[in-house]
Symmetry: C2
Subunit: 430 residues, 2 copies
C-alpha cells in the first residue's frame, strides 16, 4: 500500500468502507445513512420513450436517420451533445441564462468537480477553500489531485462571509493563493443549512473583492419543496460563479449525467480569448473523453418530455421528500420532549428542503457508537465527523430522509431515541 | 492561462485542436485522421432490445421488478454492475480467466488509464514507461496527474525488450522508480505494429525480473480479422499484467464503457489483503462515482445477445476493417511503384489488423505540410510526431482506415500520392 498513491490511505475512504460494512452486516437495521433518491416513481419502461423523444428532437432539428445513428453510436463532442437542452432548462427553471458553449456535460457532478479543481490548481501554492463540514466528493478530488484544500468553519446556523474572508487572509499570509470556495448554498450536504439571500449577495461581493471563484454545487434545489432562493449563478454579475449541476437527484442517478457552467473568460497560450468551459473540456478529454451519448440522450429526452422543465418532473418527488423531512422533524419532536432535549443536550436543525439534517448529541458519535447503534438498536446514521476535512463534528450525526418510507421513519426515529438515551447514559460527557 | 494547471498548456492539446480545425475548415477533404469505428452496421432501434435483454438476464437471476428498477435507476456499485458478464466474455473470447471481483467497469479505457496511473504513481520518484510513439490518452493522463512518463523508443519493426530494459535501468540510475510499462501489443495506435508471441513471453519475464507491471491496452483485437495472438494477460502467470479494455470499438463508442482487470494482491493499511481492483474502485469513487447504469445495461445486453461473445457481434465489422486495410495497402502499392518508392524515399508498414498504419515520407510531416495537404490536395492525415512524447516521428504520418468507404480510400490515396510528390519536390531533404 505504501507503494500506491496517498489518496488511497485517506481516512475518509476507510470510514466510508466502515459505514458500508455496517450497512451490509445489519441489513435489518433502518438506515438514515444513504443519500439515495427515492425510486418509487420511476418507470423503467419509460427509458425507451425518453430515448425516442430525443431522437424526434434531433429529427425536428433537421437530423437525418444517419445523423441520429451517429449521435447515439459514435464518440461525441467532448463538451457534450445536449448543451442546448441543458441551457434551456437552466433558463426556464433556474433563471440562469448562459450560452450552451459555457456548459460542459460531465459524468455526474463528481467529474465536474474534478475538472474544475484540476484547471484551477496549477501548483502547490494554490488552495481551494471548502465549507466544513462539506461534501466528501470535493475533498476526495483534492486528495486525488494532490490539491490543497482548506476548511472554512460553518456555524450551527450556517455559513458566514466573515469566516471565508478570514480564511482567505490566513491562506494568503501562509503564502498560498486561494483560487475558489466550494459551497452548496441550498440544503447543504451534510448539514442541511441554506444560505440566506442577503448572505449570497455578500458572498458574491466578497468573491469579486478577493478575486476568487465560487464553485456552486446545486444537487437538491429542484427536489426540494416550495420556491427556492436564486442560485449564486443567477445573481452572478461579474462571472465569479462556476455552477456545478447533477441530474442524479432531479432525473435519476443511473444516467450519471451532470454538468458545469463555466462562462469565465480565459486568454490561452496563443493570446486567443476563450471560456473556462473550453479548458475544462480539454481536461475532460484526458478523464472520460466524453459522457455516454446514451445517457445524455435519455436525460435530454426526459427534460424535453416535460417542456424542458426538470421542476415539472419533480412535483411528486419534491412533495415526497418535503413530507419525509417534515415526518422526521415531527417524529424527533415527539420522541424527545423539550425537557428531555435540555436534559440530554440533544438538538437538531430544521432544513427547509434537501435530503439531510444534522443532529447534535451529548456523546461521541463515532464508529464505535455507530456499530452499537446498528447492532443493539437497529438504526444506522452517518457520523458527521466524516465530513470535516480538518477535524470536528465529533458530536454530530447526519440523518438522510430521502430513501425511507413513512413507516420506516417512525420506527427509525423511535430506535434512534432509545439509542441516544442508552448511549448518553454510558458516556454522558462524550 | 498561466493561472491554470500546466496540462492545459500541453502541446498535444494544441496540435489536436489544430487537426480539428483543419478538419472543420476543409470539409471536402478526405480524412485519414479519425480513429472512429464504422457505424454502418449499427441499428439504433436495437438499443431497446439490448436493454430488455439485460433486464431478462437480471430477472432470470432472481431479480424482482423492483430490483431491476433499482439497478437501472440508482447509484450502482462503484466497481460496476456487469462485472460477471465482462468476466464471461473475457473467458470465452480472450482466454482470460479472472474473477469478476478483479474487474472495475470504467467510463471507457481512458478512465481505466487514469485510475491505474493514479494508483501506481505515489510521488515524483515514480515513473510510467510508455512506448514511443504511443497513444495520447496515456500521456494525457500523465500530464493531468503530474505523473512522470518516460519514452521507450519503438523500432520500425516494433517493440524490443532490450529497449524497455535499458529505459528501466536509465530511470533507476536517475533515482526514479519505474512502476509500469504501457503498451498496445496488438495493432498499436498509432504505428499499427503487433508484438510477436515470443517477444510477449520475454516481456512478461522482464516485467517479473524488474518488478514492474505491464499496462496492456487492447482496443483493436476483436475488430481485427483472423485469429489474434494471446493477450499478455492470457499469458500472465505472475500477475504482472493490468489489462485495460474498451467496448468502444467492439460494441459502440456512444456507450462509453470500458474496464480494467487488476487482480494483483495489495496489502492495505490495516494489514488486510485485497486486490488492486479494490484500490482502483476507491479512486473511481472520486472521479465518476460509477459508470452509467444505462450504458452498462446496454453493453451487457449486447454481449448476452451474442451468447457472451463480442467476437460474434464483430464478424461483419472485422471483415470490413480488414478489407479497408487491404484496400489502403493495395492502393498505396498501385500509387507508388517500387522504383518511385526508392526514388522518393517513401515507405509504409503492413499491419495485420487494427485501424492504423504509418507512412514514412521524405519531408517534415508537420502542421504546415498538413495544412497544404488539406487545402491544395484535399487529403487529411495525422502527423505521427503528435504521438512522440519526447520528440521524434517528424517524417511520419498516421493513416486511419476505419471510417472511410472503398471509394474514398481510392480517391484519398490518389490525392495523398499527388501531395507526397509535390511536397517532396519542395523540400526533398525534409
Amino acid at each position: 500500500m505504501d507503494e500506491l498513491h496517498g489518496s488511497l490511505g485517506d481516512p475518509v475512504l476507510g470510514t466510508m468502507n466502515f459505514l458500508n460494512g455496517i450497512t451490509h452486516r445489519y441489513p435489518q437495521a433502518i438506515s438514515f445513512a444513504p443519500g439515495r433518491p427515492y425510486d418509487g416513481f420511476f418507470d423503467t419502461d419509460q427509458i425507451t420513450q425518453y430515448l425516442s423523444r430525443y431522437q424526434e428532437y434531433l429529427e425536428k432539428g433537421g437530423a437525418t436517420s444517419g445523423d441520429v445513428r451517429s449521435a447515439l453510436f459514435q464518440y461525441g463532442p467532448t463538451a457534450g451533445l445536449i448543451r442546448e437542452v441543458i441551457a434551456d432548462w437552466l433558463s426556464l427553471d433556474e433563471d440562469i441564462h448562459v450560452a450552451p458553449e459555457s456548459i460542459v456535460v460531465t459524468v455526474g457532478a463528481q467529474e465536474a468537480m474534478l475538472l474544475t479543481v484540476r484547471a484551477l490548481v496549477a501548483g502547490r501554492q494554490d488552495v481551494i477553500l471548502v465549507s466544513s463540514p462539506c461534501y466528501m466528493g470535493i475533498t476526495g478530488v483534492g486528495r486525488l489531485l494532490d490539491a490543497e484544500m482548506a476548511a472554512v468553519p460553518e456555524h450551527p446556523d450556517g455559513f458566514r462571509c466573515a469566516d471565508l474572508e478570514a480564511a482567505i487572509r490566513a491562506e494568503r499570509a501562509r503564502g498560498r493563493r486561494p483560487r475558489a470556495f466550494y459551497v452548496i448554498p441550498d440544503h447543504a450536504n451534510p448539514s442541511g443549512t441554506t444560505i440566506p439571500l442577503e448572505t449570497r449577495r455578500e458572498l458574491l461581493e466578497l468573491a469579486a473583492r478577493e478575486d476568487i471563484l465560487l464553485l456552486e454545487d446545486s444537487p437538491y434545489r429542484v427536489v426540494s419543496p416550495g420556491r427556492q432562493l436564486p442560485t449564486l449563478k443567477a445573481l452572478d454579475r461579474h462571472c465569479r460563479v462556476v455552477h456545478l449541476g447533477s441530474f442524479s437527484k432531479t432525473l435519476f442517478p443511473g444516467a450519471r449525467v451532470g454538468f458545469v457552467v463555466a462562462d469565465q473568460r480565459v486568454v490561452d497560450a496563443t493570446g486567443r480569448t476563450g471560456l473556462l468551459a473550453d479548458e475544462l473540456t480539454k481536461i475532460k478529454s484526458m478523464v472520460t473523453v466524453n459522457t455516454s451519448a446514451l445517457s445524455q440522450a435519455v436525460v435530454a429526452g426526459m427534460l424535453l418530455s416535460a417542456d424542458g422543465r426538470a421542476s415539472k418532473l419533480n412535483t411528486r418527488t419534491s412533495a415526497y421528500y418535503g413530507k419525509a423531512l417534515r415526518d422526521v422533524l415531527d417524529q424527533l419532536d415527539q420522541e424527545f420532549s423539550e425537557d428531555e432535549r435540555t436534559a440530554l443536550g440533544i438538538r437538531w436543525n430544521k432544513p427547509t428542503g434537501g435530503f439531510f439534517l444534522s443532529v447534535q448529541v451529548p456523546f461521541s458519535a463515532d464508529n464505535t457508537a455507530l456499530k452499537r447503534s446498528a447492532e443493539e438498536f437497529g438504526v444506522i446514521w452517518t457520523p458527521l465527523s466524516y465530513f470535516y476535512p480538518e477535524g470536528g463534528g465529533e458530536h454530530g450525526l447526519r440523518l438522510s430522509v430521502s430513501y425511507l418510507t413513512r413507516d420506516e421513519i417512525g420506527r427509525g426515529i423511535e430506535r434512534l431515541g432509545r439509542f441516544v438515551r442508552a448511549q448518553s447514559a454510558i458516556s454522558p460527557e462524550g
